[in-house]
Structures are given as structure tokens and as C-alpha cells.
Symmetry: C2
Subunit: 196 residues, 2 copies
């Protein structure tokens, strides 16, 4: 690291800029030119520092999962109750799937559906990203069980997976046209399930 010229860019800023493009346009919909414009890098810097489009995409997925799950965990730690955190998280997911200009949803959910398992390296990154979010839900469920808001009769890991399923599904149905009232009714059923 001490050899050669210092980097002329902040790697995290580059990743964030590229992540925004992939998130809005998907992997297939993103050209090398889009990435160069968004990051301000030259083609050679991008290849040298990030190994080209595929590796850059993989690093963006990592960064997305890392930063978003950390933010989510912070929200959990600051929440008055775990159940309210879960409710807010599900409602925010639905909101993100419909309120932004391009309704871009969640980068991980989009990537899972764009690639399925056809690209094992990407599938592994997506699975690792899902694991981070599952970890946050697991912490929330365990706390909710301690707080008495979530039934202790059910396995916390199963409920965390159940919440992952519903979170992914909410993105999809909002993109498929579900309105706010529909989302709220669904979230109500999910919360009732947790309460046992």
C-alpha cells in the first residue's frame, strides 16, 4: 500500500456511486459507460482498482448488505420495542419499493431474481447478504421474545426466515401493483403471526 502513487479516489465513494447505478438499472441494464460516468473513473482505474464490471458488482452487493444491515441493526438498537422495529422495517421495505422515482426496491432481492442461481459467485454474495439481514431479524425476534411481544413457542430462526420471506414478498407485490392499504393489512397479519 505504501508503494506507487496514492489513490486519486475514495474507494467507498466509488462503490457507493456504482451501487446506485446497479440498484436502479440492474446488472444487465448497466453498461461500462454508465459506471465510468457515475464513478468518474477512467476505464483503466476501474479495472485496476475494481477488476471490471463483475467484480465491481460483487463488491457493491457486499457493500449494500454491509451498510444497510448495519443501519438496520442500529434502528433495532434504538427502537422502543422489537415488534415495532419489525413493523417499521416491513413498512419501510414496501415504501422503498414504491416511493422512489424508479421503484428500485432492494438490490439483493432484485439481484436474486435477476440472476437466480445461474451465476454461482453472485448467488454466494446474495446469500451472504441475505444472511446479514436474517441476522438482524433473528436478533429482533429474540429480543421480542424476551420482551414478551413475540411468542416464545416458535423457533426464532424460523421466524427470522419467515420475516425474510415476507420482506422479499412485499417488494414484489408492491412492484406488482399493491397499494398502501393492502400492504398495511398484510403487515398486520405478519405481526399477528409473530404474537402467536
Amino acid at each position: 500500500m505504501s508503494l506507487g502513487r496514492p489513490l486519486e479516489y475514495d474507494p467507498e465513494k466509488v462503490l457507493d456511486a456504482a451501487m446506485e447505478v446497479f440498484w436502479s438499472q440492474g446488472y444487465d441494464g448497466t453498461s461500462m459507460q454508465d459506471l465510468l460516468s457515475a464513478t468518474g473513473l477512467s476505464k483503466s482505474s476501474l479495472y485496476q482498482g475494481f477488476g471490471g464490471k463483475d467484480e465491481l458488482f460483487a463488491r457493491c452487493i457486499n457493500r449494500y448488505a454491509e451498510t444497510r444491515s448495519a443501519k438496520s441493526l442500529e434502528l433495532l438498537n434504538n427502537a422502543g420495542s422489537a415488534l415495532r422495529f419489525i413493523e417499521a422495517t416491513l413498512l419501510r421495505a414496501a415504501d422503498e419499493a414504491c416511493s422512489s422515482e424508479v421503484q428500485r426496491g432492494c438490490l439483493l432481492v432484485n439481484t436474486a431474481n435477476e440472476f437466480s442461481k445461474s451465476d454461482p459467485a453472485i448467488a454466494k454474495k446474495v446469500a451472504a447478504g441475505f444472511d446479514r439481514f436474517r441476522g438482524v431479524f433473528l436478533a429482533a425476534v429474540k429480543r421480542g421474545q424476551r420482551e414478551g411481544d413475540i411468542s416464545g413457542d416458535m423457533d426464532a430462526k424460523v421466524l427470522a426466515n419467515y420475516l425474510m420471506t415476507n420482506m422479499g414478498g412485499l417488494f414484489t407485490i408492491v412492484k406488482g401493483g399493491a397499494d398502501e392499504k393492502t400492504v398495511k393489512d398484510i403487515v398486520h397479519v405478519i405481526l399477528k403471526t409473530l404474537q402467536g
Copy 2:
């Protein structure tokens, strides 16, 4: 229809062949050449009969929703109980997301996540397709309530939307790496929710 040469192809077979390509490769990942190879049509026949890639895609989405929801309704009518039909449908969805060679999942879920609402014409087709499947779930929930397997305390429409959410979510988490045991545990929670 009585004027000119008779069609040299079966329109439904053409749609089915094109649907398979879009389903496996997604809209962006499908080239005009892929469509011509799969359907065996000349470029001019494809444009004349189906209006090009966009209109063909829209018609494939319609056909997918129509044929698959009709098959689903038939399964419901032949099922011993509505609850068992719902269980089998959810498990089959998860299975389809992982067992086929390309893990292609559901054309509607994939399209919803590929396009989000960025293309209003496609979004409308996806929403109409979702409506068909929601209709099948609604019929199943109402029958389940009559049969006493599903709680009558909950609104059937809300439960149908809840099932749509979980079906979409199962596709996503399986593509994100969830295994069979995880899926079964989640489906168990969903069925328990319906039972109230």
C-alpha cells in the same frame, strides 16, 4: 380473418416458445435472434403477427398468467381440502425456484422485479397477472373458511394478499439460498397463520 394466406404457424405455440425464452433469460437478456430461433418465425412474421419484442413480451406475460392460473384453479378444484392446496402451491413455488436447471422461478415475479414500475404498460400486465393468481388464492381461502380449516375471523381478501406476498417471497429466498427444510418451516408458519 378469411382474407389472405392462412397463418403458417400456431400463434399459441409461438407464444409458448417465446414465453420459455423470456422466462429463462428475462426481458433484457432476450435478443430478437433468441426469439426468432425459439419460435422458428422470420423477423417479418414476428413483427407482423406479434408486433415486435415488446408486444410479444406483453402477450407472453398474459399467456403465462392465463394458463398457469387456470391450471392452479384446476388443482384447487381437484384438491381434497383448500388448506392442502395452499400448502402444495407454496411448496411447489419454492421447488420451481430451485429445481429447474436455470432456477427461473415465476415469470411474473421476475418481471415485477426486473421492471419494477418503470414501464407502465408492463407493470399493468404484471398487475393483471397477479390479480389472476390472487383470485385463485381468494377462492382457496374462502373454501378453506367454509371447510373450517382457515379462520373465519380474518378477511379472505387480506389473506389472499398475504399468500401472494409469501409466494413471491419464497421464490426470492430460495433464489437467495434457502434450503428445503427452511422452506418447509416457513410454510408451516404460514399455514398456522391461516388457521388463526
